[in-house]
């Protein structure tokens, strides 16, 4: 069933292999050269396909961006919930956040959202949902660690943790790494002290 909502243009199937190749190419381009490099012609070239196919599978470039974003957002949300279900702790949360690849991905999208209003709403929505889910996890983890909300409110802990990793990614992208290692070490030691149950074991 072709989508015909507003425009009459035909749109390719959502489960097409070609469509996926385009999405992969777009994502790769986004990470390597920034969103400004994600043009229909360059995406197609990277995928080894013709530029018109981009417009065949995505009504607009914004649609492409949105789809690229959704894929990763859904995936990382699912991974988060899996990990938290297995072990609801600050340590787990930190480990998930410390993945710099994910951070630089989201930074690029925030920058993009800054000048594409159509995209901003979608990203903001996901971000809010993500934050709510994480907040719940942090609250649970903190009380499990024996910390009351008066000592440190869960929201504060969350903003500090997620914020820190994002800034590290941002600065790393710039080539700045001064103080990063020390900061990471400090946070990890603080968490380990708070949650001695896993000590220095894994990894």
């Amino acid at each position: 069933m072709p989508i015909t909502s507003t425009s009459s243009r035909r749109i390719g199937a959502a489960d097409s292999k070609t469509r996926e190749r385009l999405l992969n190419a777009a994502e790769q381009l986004l990470l390597e050269e920034g969103y400004a490099a994600v043009t229909s012609r360059r995406v197609a070239a990277k995928a080894g396909l013709k530029p018109q196919l981009v417009h065949y599978y995505f009504r607009t470039m914004d649609d492409l961006f949105l789809e690229v974003y959704r894929r990763r957002a859904d995936e990382s949300l699912a991974r988060f919930e899996r990990a938290i279900a297995a072990d609801c702790s600050l340590h787990t949360l930190w480990r998930l956040n410390a993945d710099l690849r994910g951070a630089s991905f989201s930074i690029e999208f925030v920058a993009l959202a800054n000048h594409r209003k159509a995209i901003r709403a979608e990203i903001a929505g996901y971000a809010e949902r993500f934050r709510a889910a994480q907040l719940e996890a942090v609250s649970a983890a903190l009380t499990a660690d024996g910390l009351s909300a008066d000592q440190i409110p869960p929201v504060v802990a969350l903003v500090l943790m997620t914020g820190l990793t994002q800034v590290l990614a941002l600065e790393k992208a710039l080539g700045m790494t001064a103080g990063h290692e020390a900061t990471i070490e400090y946070v990890e030691r603080a968490i380990a002290q708070l949650e001695p149950r896993r000590a220095t074991s894994e990894r």
Copy 2:
């Protein structure tokens, strides 16, 4: 004295009033609509001038960006040094960092640097200098507050503080504000507790 370094093109005087108007227009456009909106034609339109003037005063668009950046960077570095000389404390540092306008400015530039290599070096250079200066101030402030480097290394305190404000700005640009107030309040209370000398007085 016209600059003739590599190209033979004539370049307008550095102290020109028109040049300044262009810089202002570019900066405004950058903050309002993101760096993608900063094109020669749009900058000129915003300044009420002809597009060719942009190229008369700046050899390339990158030069324009660089000049816009330098103006603000120099200014905020000077302001920082003035403020710290007057009162070297975490409170002062936080107050300076908490200016969200400056944060969103620098975020836009980091995004820009991400896909304009010529600009990255310049920005990274300033950022490193800025960090070094701030680090010195934080070290002094912390020892003045009676905290040794074992309890919390100055670098860590700095990265946490500056990182936090940047993330707040980033999220605010996205329309996300959940937890911001609580976090700001928390940090300010923590600083006030550490530096009781200024209590809840000013502002």
